[in-house]
């Protein structure tokens, strides 16, 4: 059975030693006939937390899905950990050390909490142990026998994040993790992200809640109409806050 999860082919992925974890160049993506991404360019260095900001429909989720090879067609280049992945099959992408947390969370109703947590196959060594995870998310331990979708929205979000921490992924793609959650939960998620950064994780955070993202991020990318239109570093942020707000329409 493990064959299903283990990598069987001849491809051997390598960790390059450079500082670059993810480089997306001239990425175009399509859903059927609709052309959604029009040449996206950005890069993320090892250990960085980078946000993708933008208005609704700007193409942020599509960018993450394109990296996971979950959209119809893609052109351009996506280098993950030094490997070109445009021709890599979807189920091979996580083996490069990528963990994906979808916008709709994707908790499985037919699995209990612990089954949900244990579901994603280990892709690399060095993932968090189940005890570490329960220490980080005590609620999940208490509710480990509940049906996954019986959890509150916040708990489901914790679960969706927790399950990719076990797999050994080093690059996390997180889509709108604070959406619709109460302030105390948003704050707890912020603390989790800080801990993950301390552990050396590289994080791409798609966010609507700029006040949540601002203190956590090293750099911000702003998307509009399927392109990156602006890059702002944490250092530049104070002086460019007004400009950014106008871009986001907040």
């Amino acid at each position: 059975m493990n064959q299903l999860a283990e990598q069987t082919g001849v491809t051997h992925y390598r960790d390059h030693d450079g500082a670059e974890m993810l480089r997306v160049s001239d990425l175009h993506a399509f859903y059927g006939e609709s052309h959604i991404l029009h040449g996206v360019d950005f890069e993320v260095r090892r250990g960085e937390l980078v946000t993708l900001l933008g208005r609704n429909g700007a193409g942020r989720s599509t960018t993450l899905k394109s990296i996971m090879n979950m959209v119809g067609r893609r052109t351009g280049s996506i280098m993950i950990n030094g490997n070109e992945t445009l021709d890599v099959k979807p189920h091979r992408i996580p083996r490069l050390g990528v963990g994906y947390c979808p916008e709709e969370r994707g908790i499985f109703a037919s699995l209990d909490v612990e089954e949900n947590l244990l579901l994603p196959p280990t892709v690399r060594s060095g993932g968090m142990s189940i005890d570490d995870i329960y220490a980080m998310f005590p609620n999940l331990y208490e509710r480990r026998r509940s049906q996954g979708t019986r959890l509150s929205g916040g708990e489901q979000q914790m679960l969706a994040m927790a399950r990719i921490l076990r797999t050994g992924a080093r690059l996390l793609l997180l889509d709108e993790i604070t959406e619709g959650l109460a302030p105390v939960i948003v704050q707890a998620l912020g603390e989790v992200l800080v801990k993950l950064k301390e552990r050396g994780m590289t994080i791409v955070l798609v966010e609507q809640n700029f006040r949540f993202a601002a203190p956590l991020a090293d750099r911000h990318y702003v998307m509009e109409h399927g392109r990156i239109i602006e890059e702002i570093s944490a250092a530049e942020l104070p002086s460019r806050r007004e400009h950014l707000h106008s871009l986001l329409g907040v």
Partner: protein, 295 residues
């Protein structure tokens, strides 16, 4: 003589037993259909043909290769299951992106091809397969005589059904299957090779049908059309139980067998139609089926 509602106990229990054994076949077949439907979303019209191929593999294996019943019990499901995986890989996968109606039509066509080819070679009159020596004779239970082979069929079918239920509901492989049924795209994003999971699942569902075919070989005439006759009833059972649930498929299968048996005792004329009557009732009152999730 003791009577139950005017029927001798021996007759009553005998029919109940017969019904339960038919029910065991319904359970095995609808279980395979449910597993396949869950992941592939295809109503596998080739299921009856696979059952028939299981019985034929058993018969021909004995005639030409000297393979006995016990070996066939293992080999026939393996061989037919492998054939199923080839069918999935070469045919079903190619139409996976189309409306699921195409899968239904394709498997229906396959069933006709398998049946037709075998009718060409062997004709429609069935051949007999001997009851294995160790299972000949029977048990005198006092109120009825129970042929050993029938008792074996019941036990074997129940063990396989419960084993399947256990694997699906309680193991990691089963969790893959359940999750893949819900959201295959996300499973891929976790690193699970979903196309491979689909091939294995189809092979397994088909192997269950072939296993039922081996069990059936000593009971019923082995003929190319034995599957299509049975499959119509099994589809009714599936409609009654609802596609969603593994345990539901098994329980409905057994239950419908019993209802059929009881009808044979009290109103034999309706025995062949009673399941369809139940189906109509269920469709009117609970369209998703007894165990199905209401949409």
């Amino acid at each position: 003589m003791t009577m139950i509602f005017g029927v001798p106990v021996a007759v009553f229990m005998g029919q109940l037993m017969l019904g339960l054994i038919n029910g065991a076949f319904y359970a095995l077949l609808s279980l395979g259909l449910a597993v396949i439907f869950g992941l592939l979303k295809i109503v596998n019209f080739a299921h009856g043909a696979m059952y028939m191929l299981g019985a034929f593999a058993t018969l021909l294996g004995m005639q030409y290769l000297g393979i006995g019943y016990w070996a066939a019990l293992l080999l026939a499901p393996l061989v037919v299951g492998a054939l199923g995986m080839v069918i999935e890989r070469l045919l079903l996968r190619r139409i996976g992106h189309l409306d699921h109606l195409y899968g239904l039509l394709l498997t229906f066509g396959l069933a006709l091809i398998f049946e037709g080819s075998l009718v060409n070679v062997f004709g429609v009159s069935g051949a007999r397969y001997p009851t294995p020596e160790a299972l000949q004779g029977g048990l005198q239970l006092g109120f009825m005589f129970l042929p050993t082979y029938r008792a074996w069929v019941l036990v074997a079918a129940l063990v396989v059904c419960l084993g399947t239920w256990y694997v699906i509901e309680r193991t990691r492989l089963g969790a893959y299957l359940r999750a893949g049924t819900e959201n295959p795209a996300l499973m891929q994003a976790f690193g699970v090779n979903v196309p491979q999971l689909i091939t294995l699942t189809y092979g397994f569902g088909v192997a269950l049908a072939a296993f039922a075919g081996v069990l059936a070989a000593p009971l019923y005439p082995v003929s190319p059309t034995m599957g299509s006759n049975l499959l119509i009833v099994v589809f009714a059972v599936v409609v009654i139980g609802g596609m969603g649930s593994i345990l539901g498929a098994v329980l409905t299968g057994l239950g419908m067998g019993l209802i059929e048996g009881l009808t044979k005792v009290y109103y034999p004329e309706a025995a062949n139609t009673v399941i369809f009557l139940v189906m109509i009732l269920v469709l009117m009152l609970r369209p998703a089926g007894l165990f199905g999730k209401e949409a």
